[in-house]
C-alpha cells in the first residue's frame, strides 16, 4: 500500500469526532495521525494541504455498496466504485455479495479483495448467507470469515424461509458473526415495484406494501430474541420498521439498523412520471415514512446511514417502470444530503454525522480494529487524533455544487438527484495518509 513518504499537514480546518469538534491542524506521517492541534508548526519537509473552512471527519464507511464486480462490470467495477466512494469522502465500503458469481465462497471473497488491492478506498466484503443467495443452503461462513468477512447477507433479497434464517442465525452466533437482512417478504411483495399507497393506486403500478418489510423484520426480531445472535437490518424504509428496531434495542436485543439517504430525501411521489430512475428496493416510501425515518436518525435509533449505491447500465433503466432494475447511485451525494438532513434541517451536530457515516458503520462491519486477516485494511471509523490511521474526509460545508451523473466516477448514470443543487462538498479524502482525492479530484 502506498504511504506518504514525507509528512503531510492538513491546515486550517475544524476536526470533528463523534464526541465534538475543535479548530485544529492535523499532522500526518507514515499513514498515521501524529499530531492534532490548533496552529501546529509546519516542518519544512511537510506537504501542506489546504483545509481552511473545512470540517475534518474520520473517513466515511459505507455499509452497503454494490460494486458489481465480478459479473456486471459494465455497471461498475471495484476500481470505479472505489473512486466514486473516495470522491464521496469514504475510506471504506462493504461490497454486497449479489455479484455474478455470488460471493458465497472463499474464492469469490479472495477475488474481490484482490481486485481491491490498489483501490482508492478500502473494500470489505460481505458474504452471502446462503449458496447463490437462493435462501436454501448455508454458505461456508466460517471459511469466508477466516478471510476477514464479518458481515453476511443475501442482500438483493431477504432469506424468505424462516427455518433457514433461524439455522443461519444459530450457526453465525456460534462463530460470533453478524447477519444482515434485506427485509422483504416476497409473498407480500407479489410482483410490486413501488411503495403501495395512494400513488401506486393512481399510477396503476403494483405496490410493495410496508408490511412486506415489516413482516420479515418482525420475524427476524423474534429469531434474534430466541437465538441470541446479532443482526443488522439493511436499508429500513418505513417509520414502523425503525420503531420496531428501537423497541427491540430497548428490550436488549443485539440488533442495529441502517437507513439509506434516498429514503430520507425522496418519497413515492417521485415515481409519478414513471421514470425508473426512482425505482429502488425497498421502494421510496410515503412522506410519513420519511418523517419517521428522519426522526429515528436524529434520535440515534438508527445507527448508520448506508448508501445502497446500486449502479445499473442504461438498458436496465430505459424500460417500462415495472421491467426496470431497482437501484440508484449514492456514494458521491450521501454526505451532502445527510449534512442537509441532520445538520441544516434536523438541527443535529456534525458529530452526529460522524457517528452515522463513520463511527457506527465501522463498528457494525467490525472495521475498527486493525486486522491482519483483512489484507492490509486498517482502522476505520476512529477519531481524528494522534495514533489513529490517517483515513480522513475533509469536507467543505459551505461549497455548493450541482449533482450530475456526467461528473460521477461511477460507470453508471442512474442518479436520482440529477441537477439538484447541493450544499457541502468533499474537498480531500486521505487513505492511510495518501491524498486519494485532492480539491475534489480523484488522484488515481
Amino acid at each position: 500500500m502506498a504511504q506518504a513518504s514525507s509528512p503531510t499537514m492538513l491546515r486550517g480546518g475544524t476536526v470533528v469526532n463523534d464526541q465534538g469538534q475543535a479548530r485544529a491542524d492535523v499532522m500526518i506521517a507514515d499513514g498515521l495521525i501524529v499530531d492534532v492541534g490548533p496552529s501546529l508548526e509546519v516542518p519544512t519537509s511537510a506537504t501542506v494541504i489546504d483545509a481552511s473552512d473545512t470540517l475534518i471527519f474520520p473517513g466515511l464507511v459505507d455499509l452497503h455498496t454494490h460494486l458489481r464486480e465480478p459479473g456486471r462490470e459494465e455497471a461498475e467495477t471495484v476500481e470505479s466504485g472505489a473512486r466514486a466512494a473516495a470522491l464521496g469522502g469514504y475510506t471504506a465500503v462493504v461490497a454486497m455479495p449479489n455479484t455474478e458469481p455470488c460471493t458465497d465462497s472463499p474464492e469469490v471473497v479472495r477475488l474481490v479483495l484482490s481486485l481491491a488491492k490498489d483501490a482508492v478506498c478500502d473494500v470489505a466484503v460481505a458474504g452471502a448467507i446462503t449458496i447463490e443467495r437462493a435462501g436454501e443452503l448455508l454458505s461456508p461462513m466460517a471459511e469466508m470469515a477466516s478471510l476477514g468477512v464479518s458481515l453476511f447477507t443475501d442482500d438483493g433479497s431477504g432469506v424468505q424461509d424462516g427455518g433457514v434464517m433461524r439455522r443461519a442465525l444459530q450457526y453465525a452466533h456460534g462463530l460470533g458473526l453478524t447477519l444482515a437482512q434485506h427485509c422483504e417478504d416476497q409473498a407480500i411483495v407479489n410482483g410490486g415495484c413501488m411503495h403501495e399507497g395512494m400513488y401506486s393506486g393512481r399510477l396503476g403500478l403494483p405496490g410493495i406494501p410496508a408490511s412486506a418489510e415489516e413482516a420479515m423484520l418482525a420475524r427476524d426480531l423474534l429469531l434474534v430474541a430466541e437465538t441470541g445472535a446479532s443482526m443488522h437490518f439493511l436499508h429500513l424504509s418505513t417509520a414502523r420498521s425503525v420503531a420496531m428496531v428501537a423497541q427491540a434495542k430497548k428490550a436488549g436485543l443485539p440488533v442495529t439498523c441502517e437507513v439509506a439517504p434516498h429514503h430520507l430525501v425522496l418519497t413515492d411521489q417521485a415515481c409519478c412520471g414513471y421514470d425508473p430512475i426512482f425505482k429502488v428496493n425497498p421502494p421510496l416510501r410515503s412522506a410519513d415514512d420519511v418523517a419517521g425515518l428522519r426522526k429515528a436518525v436524529l434520535s440515534g435509533a438508527v445507527e448508520a446511514i448506508a448508501t445502497d449505491h446500486a449502479p445499473h447500465p442504461p438498458q436496465a433503466k430505459d424500460l417500462p417502470f415495472d421491467e426496470a432494475s431497482p437501484g440508484m447511485l449514492g456514494l458521491e451525494t450521501a454526505l451532502s444530503l445527510i449534512a442537509g438532513v441532520v445538520v441544516h434541517e434536523g438541527k443535529g451536530s456534525w458529530s452526529d454525522v460522524v457517528r452515522l457515516l463513520s463511527t457506527n458503520p465501522a463498528k457494525i462491519a467490525k472495521l475498527r480494529a486493525s486486522d491482519p486477516r483483512l489484507g492490509g485494511q486498517s482502522a476505520q471509523g476512529g477519531s481524528v487524533s494522534p495514533g489513529e490511521v490517517a483515513n480522513l474526509c475533509v469536507f467543505d460545508p459551505q461549497a455548493t455544487w450541482t449533482a450530475s451523473s456526467a461528473d460521477s466516477a461511477s460507470r453508471s448514470a442512474n442518479l436520482p438527484y440529477e441537477g439538484w443543487p447541493l450544499q457541502g462538498k468533499v474537498r480531500h479524502t486521505l487513505l492511510r495518509g495518501e491524498a486519494v482525492v485532492l480539491d475534489g479530484q480523484a488522484q488515481r
Partner: protein, 327 residues
C-alpha cells in the same frame, strides 16, 4: 384546440377540453354516416400503432380513425417484429420514429409505458391506448360520448345542445375489478372532471390502494347501490382473477357483483349500462341484460372510431376542422 404533445392520461383533460373533444367526435360521427366517410384532415401524416398486447378492437378502431382522416397507418404487429427478438421498447420507438411518423398509438402491458415512450419520442405525439392497470383515456372518452348521446335522446336534444352539464350530479357506478382496470382510472378521472358523482363497487381484494383519496364513494354492496345509479359502468374481469388469487371463484364474484336479470330490474327506468368489452356473459352481466336496449356496449364500439378521430385530429391537425371537412 390542442391537447399538447401527447394524450397519456385522462387528468390532462379538464371539462372544457372534454367538451371540445366530445363535440368534435360528434361531427366526426356525422362524417361516418356519409357514403364516403373520409376527410383529408390528416393527409400526409403517418400514424403508427404499436400494440404489445392483443387488442384487435382498439387497434382497428384507431387505424380506422386514422384512415378516415386520410392519415397513413403503419401497424406494427409485435408478434412478427424484432421485439420478439429482444429489441427494447426504446429501440423500437426510436426505429419507427426514424421512419418519419407523426403519432404513436401504444398499447402495453406495463403501466406508464406510454409515459416512457413519450420521454423517448423526439417529435412524434404519443397516444395511450391502454397501459397496464393505469389508463385508457380514449375508452373513457367514448363512454362519455355514448352516455351523452343516450341522455340527449332521452331529453329530445342534440348532444351538442347538452354540452357537458348533463354529467353534473350524474350518479355513476363503476363495478368490478377497479384495482387492475385502466378503464376505471380513466373513467373516474373524466366523470369527476365533469362533476359526476362516482361510486365504485368491488370486492375488497379488487380495490386499489389509496382509493379513499380518489374522491369517489366506495361500496361492496351492489344491491344497495343499484337503485340510485344513472349509469352502471361494468368492467371486464380477467378470468384468471377468479382462480382463487383475488377471488375465490368467478361463481362467487357473479353472485355478488354480476348485473343479473334480477338486479337489472332494480335500475331506474332511464338508467343505462356501459361495458368496455369484451363481455363475459354470465360473469359480469347476464346474457339477457347484455342484449337490452339500455346496454350500450355496441354503441360504445361504434363511437370508438369517432372519438379516436377527435383525439388524432386534436393532436395532429392544423387549422380548423372545417377546412378539412369541406373538401
Amino acid at each position: 384546440m390542442s391537447l399538447g404533445s401527447h394524450l397519456l392520461q385522462a387528468d390532462q383533460l379538464d371539462a372544457t377540453s372534454i367538451l371540445e373533444l366530445l363535440d368534435l367526435a360528434e361531427s366526426f360521427a356525422d362524417v361516418e354516416r356519409r357514403t364516403m366517410p373520409k376527410v383529408p384532415a390528416l393527409k400526409g401524416k403517418v400514424v403508427a400503432t404499436l400494440f404489445f398486447e392483443d387488442s384487435t378492437r382498439t387497434r382497428l378502431s384507431f387505424e380506422t380513425a386514422a384512415k378516415r382522416l386520410s392519415a397513413d397507418v403503419l401497424s406494427l404487429a409485435v408478434g412478427s417484429s424484432s421485439v420478439k427478438k429482444g429489441e427494447s421498447l426504446r429501440d423500437t420507438v426510436e426505429t419507427i420514429e426514424a421512419m418519419g411518423i407523426d403519432a404513436i398509438v401504444i398499447r402495453h402491458r406495463s403501466s406508464g409505458a406510454a409515459h416512457q415512450v413519450a420521454r423517448w419520442a423526439k417529435r412524434a405525439k404519443v397516444i395511450n391506448a391502454g397501459d397496464g392497470w393505469h389508463e385508457h383515456p380514449t375508452q373513457a372518452l367514448l363512454d362519455l360520448l355514448t352516455v351523452r348521446q343516450r341522455i340527449a335522446e332521452q331529453r329530445g336534444l342534440t348532444p351538442q345542445e347538452l354540452g357537458v352539464s348533463c354529467f353534473e350530479g350524474l350518479r355513476v357506478g363503476i363495478i368490478g375489478d377497479i384495482r387492475h382496470s385502466r378503464v376505471a382510472r380513466s373513467s373516474v378521472s373524466c366523470y369527476r372532471s365533469l362533476g359526476a358523482e362516482v361510486t365504485v363497487v368491488a370486492p375488497g381484494s379488487l380495490l386499489p390502494p389509496g382509493i379513499e383519496d380518489w374522491g369517489v364513494k366506495i361500496s361492496h354492496d351492489l344491491d344497495a347501490v343499484i337503485p340510485s345509479l344513472d349509469v352502471i359502468a361494468l368492467l371486464r374481469l380477467q378470468s384468471e382473477r377468479g382462480s382463487g388469487t383475488y377471488l375465490p371463484s368467478l361463481r362467487e364474484y357473479s353472485r355478488d357483483f354480476s348485473l343479473s336479470a334480477v338486479r337489472e330490474t332494480q335500475l331506474g327506468a332511464l338508467a343505462m349500462i356501459t361495458h368496455p368489452g369484451p363481455m363475459m356473459r354470465g360473469v359480469e352481466i347476464a346474457s339477457s341484460v347484455a342484449d337490452l336496449d339500455r346496454t350500450l356496449q355496441l354503441r360504445q364500439v361504434s363511437n370508438g372510431v369517432a372519438t379516436r378521430m377527435a383525439v388524432l385530429f386534436s393532436l395532429l391537425g392544423q387549422g380548423p376542422l372545417d377546412s378539412g371537412m369541406e373538401q
